[in-house]
C-alpha cells in the first residue's frame, strides 16, 4: 500500500457508494432533517408541512424514563451477550475443526438456526423457558435449583434478561461459527504442526496461535455483533411479543423504542419522534465503533 491512488479507489467504491447514497445516506439525512422539524405533518393536504425547526424531540426523548430503560436493557444485552457468544462460538469452531469425522453433519446442524423460521424459534423458546414444563427448569431441577419464572407475567427483570440473553446468544451462534470455521481454514497448518512438535497444550495453542491468527475475524465479529446487539429488537418480540417484556416494556430496547413510535403509533405524524430516537441510536454506535476501532488497532494481527 505504498502510493495513493484516489481516482482508482473511488472507481472501485462507486457501485457501493452510489447505491448507498440513494438508499441509505439520503434517507438518513432525511431522517436527520425530519427529527428537527416542529409539528411535522407529512400528509397535510397539498404537501408536507412543518411549523419550524426544533430540538424538542430530542429533549423529550432524553426526558423519557422509558428511553433510559431502553438504554439500560440494550447495554446489558450487548455487554453480556457479545463476549459470551464470541467465546462459545470460537470454542465450537475450534472443536469442529479438530474432529476427523461427522464434521459435515455437525456443521449443518450448527447452521440450522440461520434457516429456522423465526416464529418457530420464538415458540420453541417459550416452551423451553416455561415455568412448569420448560426444559431449562427441568435441567435446573437436576442440579437441585428451584424453578425460575423466566418469561411469565411476574418474572423478575433478571430472569427475563437471562432468557433474552440465552435467546440472543443462541440466535447469533450460526453466523459466528460459520465465520470462525471459514477463518480457521485460512490458518496455515504449519503453525499447528510446529506447536505439536513443541507439544504445546491445547489451551496454549488456542491462546497463542488460534486467537491471534483469527484476530481479524474476531474483530469483525465483535464489532458486527456489538452493532447487532445494540440493534436488538426481534429477539425481544420473539420472546415477549408486542408487550416488549413480561411486564409492559420491561425488556424494551432502543430499536424497539424507535419502532414503537414508528409503527405502534402507526402514523407518519409520530415519525419525527421516531427519527430522533434513531438518530440518537446512530450516534451511540458511532461512538462505539470509534472506541472499538481505537482499541483494535493495537490488538489485531494482519
Amino acid at each position: 500500500m505504498e502510493k495513493r491512488n484516489n481516482l482508482k479507489a473511488w472507481l472501485y467504491l462507486a457501485p457501493l457508494l452510489i447505491l448507498m447514497g440513494i438508499f441509505i445516506f439520503y434517507p438518513l439525512i432525511n431522517a436527520f432533517y425530519i427529527s428537527i422539524l416542529e409539528e411535522y405533518r407529512p400528509l397535510a393536504p397539498g404537501g408536507a408541512t412543518a411549523t419550524g425547526y426544533t430540538l424538542s424531540n430530542f429533549a423529550r426523548i432524553l426526558n423519557d424514563e422509558l428511553f433510559w430503560q431502553a438504554i439500560k436493557n440494550t447495554f446489558v444485552v450487548a455487554f453480556i451477550s457479545v463476549p459470551i457468544s464470541i467465546l462459545i462460538s470460537l470454542v465450537i469452531a475450534v472443536s469442529l475443526n479438530s474432529i476427523p469425522k461427522l464434521k459435515a453433519l455437525y456443521q449443518t446442524v450448527f447452521f440450522l438456526p440461520y434457516v429456522t423460521n423465526a416464529i418457530a424459534i420464538g415458540m420453541a423458546f417459550a416452551f423451553m423457558f416455561h415455568k412448569d414444563y420448560g426444559l431449562i427448569n427441568l435441567m435446573l431441577s437436576w442440579l437441585g435449583i428451584d424453578p425460575v419464572n423466566w418469561v411469565g407475567n411476574v418474572a423478575t427483570w433478571w430472569a427475563q434478561m437471562g432468557a433474552l440473553l440465552v435467546y440472543t446468544i443462541w440466535g447469533g451462534l450460526a453466523f459466528k461459527i460459520l465465520v470462525f470455521t471459514s477463518g480457521l481454514q485460512n490458518i496455515d497448518k504449519q503453525y499447528y504442526d510446529a506447536a505439536k512438535i513443541d507439544s504445546a497444550s491445547k489451551w496454549t495453542v488456542f491462546r497463542r496461535i488460534t486467537v491471534p491468527l483469527l484476530s481479524p475475524f474476531i474483530l469483525y465479529i465483535s464489532i458486527t455483533s456489538m452493532i447487532g446487539a445494540l440493534k436488538a429488537y426481534r429477539t425481544v418480540i420473539g420472546l415477549f411479543g408486542e408487550r416488549l417484556g413480561a411486564q409492559q416494556n420491561s425488556m424494551i430496547t432502543i430499536v424497539a423504542y424507535v419502532y414503537k413510535y414508528r409503527s405502534a403509533y402507526q402514523d407518519v405524524s409520530a415519525i419525527s419522534y421516531a427519527a430522533s430516537a434513531a438518530i440518537i441510536l446512530f450516534f451511540i454506535t458511532v461512538v462505539f465503533s470509534l472506541i472499538q476501532g481505537v482499541v483494535s488497532r493495537k490488538r489485531v494481527h494482519y
Partner: protein
C-alpha cells in the same frame, strides 16, 4: 476531530436539499375541507373502460366469495374491471396508503378501520360518500352485454336498513359526513360452561338468576355484574378447578383487555377518548372502575389470558380453568372442546358450551348501579354497551369521476342485502344490514349444505327451544353450525347497544385511537400483574398514569 466537523458540515449542507417540506406554515387542522357542492353525475352511465383497484387483507382462502361477487359485478358492468389485492395485514395496508397519498398512488377503494380513515381524511384523500348516498339519479342499463340489460340502477342508498351504531361509526368524522360504510363486522359474546352451571341450579336460582333445567342462561337478557359476583360466590374455588364440586378456579375471562377497558368505561359512563383525539381517562369514575376491576381480579371473579401467559382465554375455558369467557364472535369455535383436544387436559370433559350476551352493569340504559369498592358502596349511572369491531370500506378522492361512480356502485353491491347475508355466513362476520337477517339468499356452506341467513339463525333457536335436548343425528350438518348460529343470534340481540370506539389518527403530541386501545389493554394487564406479584409497582393509579404517559407527551 477535523474530519468529524467536516462531516457535520456536509450533513448540514445536505439538509438544505433534503425533502420538500413546507416549513413555516402553520399546522392547521384542514380535515374535511372538501367542497360541499352537490355532486354532478353524468347523464348516462359512463361506458369507457374503467379499472378499479380494491385493497383488502383477506387471504386467498377467504376471497372465493369476494371473487364471485366481483365476477357478478363485472358481468353487470362489462366495461369495468375490478382488481382486488390483499395487502397481507392492516399495518401494511395502512402504511402503503399513507405513503401512497403523497405521491398519488392510492387504490380506488380500500378496506380499513375508522382510525385509518381518520388519517386519510386529514390528508384530504377520501371521498365523502354523502353525495352518493343522497343522490336520486337513476340509470337505465343500455349495454346489451350486461347481465342486467334493461334494468334501472339507482345511485342512492337507504341508510335506515343499517345497524344504527355502524352508521354512527362511519360518520363520526369532522362534519358528520360518511367517509366509509360498514363491511365486516364483529362483536363480543360470552361463552358459558353449561355443565358447571347445571351442577349448581338451586344456588343459582336462589341468587335470582334465570336458568333453565339444563343450565342455559337467558339469551336475551344480559347478566349484570351483581349477578356475576353472585355466580362467583357459587362457582369459584380459588384453590383451583375442582371437578367433584364442579367449581372453576376463575369465573370470567376477558380475552381482549383493551375491549374490556373501553367497554366498561362506556358502561360506567366514564370518559375515555373522543374523536378530537383527546385522552380523557384521568377522571374519578375511571379510577373507581379500575379499583372495582382490581377487586374482581383479586377474588378470581375476573381473569385475563395473561393469568395463563396466553393471548386468548379460549383454551383455558375449554380446559375448565375458567367457566365463562368473553371473546370475539369471529373466534367462536376455539371455545368448543372436541375429540381433537388432548382429553386429559379437559378437566370437565367435553362439556356443553352456550353463548350469552356480554355482562352489563344495568338492565336499562340510564339506570344507576351500586358497587362495593374497597368495602365502600358507591353508586354510578350506567349505560348498556357491547363493543363493535371490524373494518369498513371507503373510496379515495383522487380517482376519476367514472372510477368513483363505479367504485361506489361496487361498494353498494358488496353491502346489498343478499350479499351481506352471504358474506356473513361465509366469514362468520355479522350482517351490517337489518334486512339481511331475513334474506332469502342461500349460500353453499359445504358442498351438500346450503342455507339462508334466517334458517342459519334458526339452528341455535331450535337448540335452545329444546333446552339442548335436540334429536339431531350425530351426522346432522346443523351441529357444525350450531355455535356460529348461537353467536349470530346473541349479536343480533346486542345490536341495539353496540358502541363504537372514537377513531382518530395520531397527532404530533398524542397517539392515535389504535394505540389508545392497546395501552388501555396494557393498563388492565398491569393492574392484573400487580395483583399477582406482591413486588409489582402497579396498582390502578400507577397503571393509569403509565397509560397516560404512553398516550400523550
Amino acid at each position: 476531530m477535523k474530519k468529524f466537523v467536516l462531516l457535520l458540515v456536509t450533513f448540514v449542507i445536505a439538509l438544505a436539499f433534503a425533502g420538500c417540506v413546507n416549513v413555516g406554515t402553520t399546522a392547521s387542522t384542514t380535515a374535511g375541507t372538501q367542497e360541499t357542492t352537490t355532486l354532478q353525475l353524468a347523464e348516462e352511465l359512463p361506458d369507457e373502460e374503467v379499472e378499479i383497484t380494491f385493497w383488502h387483507i383477506y387471504g386467498t382462502d377467504k376471497t372465493a366469495l369476494l371473487d364471485q361477487m366481483i365476477a357478478e359485478f363485472e358481468a353487470m358492468y362489462p366495461n369495468v374491471t375490478i382488481t382486488d389485492t390483499s395487502q397481507t395485514d392492516y399495518n401494511t395496508l395502512r402504511e402503503k396508503i399513507n405513503m401512497g397519498i403523497s405521491v398519488d398512488q392510492v387504490p380506488t377503494m380500500a378496506l380499513g378501520y375508522p382510525d385509518h380513515f381518520a388519517g386519510y381524511i386529514e390528508a384530504d384523500a377520501v371521498l365523502k360518500l354523502d353525495d352518493y348516498i343522497n343522490n336520486t339519479t337513476e340509470y337505465e342499463i343500455t349495454n346489451s352485454s350486461s347481465s342486467i340489460f334493461g334494468e334501472t340502477v339507482t345511485i342512492g342508498l337507504d341508510l335506515d336498513d343499517f345497524v344504527a351504531s355502524y352508521l354512527e361509526e362511519n360518520s363520526q368524522y369532522e362534519g358528520g359526513y360518511y367517509y366509509s360504510l360498514p363491511f365486516s363486522k364483529s362483536t363480543e359474546t360470552m361463552a358459558v360452561n353449561v355443565d358447571v352451571l347445571k351442577a349448581h341450579l338451586t344456588e343459582i336460582r336462589a341468587a335470582g338468576i334465570t336458568i333453565s333445567d339444563n343450565g342455559f342462561l337467558s339469551h336475551d337478557v344480559p347478566l349484570t355484574y351483581a349477578q356475576i359476583e353472585a355466580l362467583a360466590d357459587i362457582i369459584v374455588d380459588t384453590n383451583g378447578t375442582n371437578t367433584t364440586t364442579s367449581k372453576c378456579e376463575y369465573l370470567l375471562n376477558y380475552d381482549s383487555s383493551g375491549n374490556m377497558f373501553i367497554n366498561m368505561s362506556r358502561q360506567w359512563n366514564a370518559p375515555y377518548t373522543n374523536t378530537d383525539g383527546e385522552i380523557l381517562i384521568d377522571n374519578d369514575t375511571t379510577k373507581s372502575m379500575l379499583q372495582y376491576v382490581q377487586d374482581l381480579f383479586l377474588n378470581n371473579t375476573l381473569a385475563l389470558p395473561i393469568a395463563w401467559d396466553q393471548s386468548y382465554g379460549s383454551t383455558n375455558f375449554k380446559y375448565g380453568d375458567v367457566c365463562m369467557s368473553v371473546g370475539s364472535t369471529a373466534g367462536v369455535n376455539y371455545n368448543i372442546p372436541t375429540d381433537a383436544d388432548t382429553q386429559e387436559n379437559l378437566q370437565f370433559g367435553q362439556f356443553q358450551v352456550d353463548f350469552v350476551p356480554v355482562p352489563q352493569f344495568v338492565a336499562t340504559e340510564g339506570d344507576s348501579f351500586t358497587v362495593s369498592i374497597d368495602g365502600t358502596d358507591s353508586t354510578f349511572t350506567g349505560s348498556l354497551s357491547a363493543v363493535q369491531q371490524g373494518p369498513n370500506i371507503g373510496i379515495f378522492s383522487s380517482a376519476s369521476s367514472a372510477e368513483k361512480l363505479y367504485a361506489w356502485l361496487f361498494l353498494k353491491y358488496l353491502i346489498e342485502t343478499d350479499n351481506t347475508a352471504k358474506w356473513a355466513m361465509n366469514t362468520g362476520y355479522l350482517p351490517a344490514r337489518l334486512s339481511s337477517y331475513s334474506s332469502e339468499a342461500a349460500i353453499d356452506l359445504t358442498a351438500s349444505y346450503s342455507t339462508n341467513y334466517a334458517d342459519f339463525l334458526q339452528i341455535a333457536k331450535d337448540f335452545w327451544d329444546a333446552d339442548g335436548e335436540v334429536t339431531w343425528a350425530t351426522t346432522d350438518v346443523r351441529w357444525n353450525y350450531l355455535y356460529s348460529s348461537m353467536v349470530a343470534n346473541i349479536a343480533q340481540s346486542q345490536n341495539t347497544y353496540y358502541q363504537y370506539d372514537p377513531a382518530f389518527a395520531a397527532g404530533t403530541n398524542s397517539a392515535g385511537s389504535a394505540t389508545a386501545r392497546v395501552e388501555a389493554g396494557y393498563c388492565l394487564e398491569n393492574i392484573y400483574i400487580g395483583t399477582l406479584a406482591s413486588g409489582s409497582s402497579y396498582n390502578p393509579n400507577t397503571a393509569l398514569n403509565t397509560m397516560l404517559n404512553q398516550l400523550t407527551w
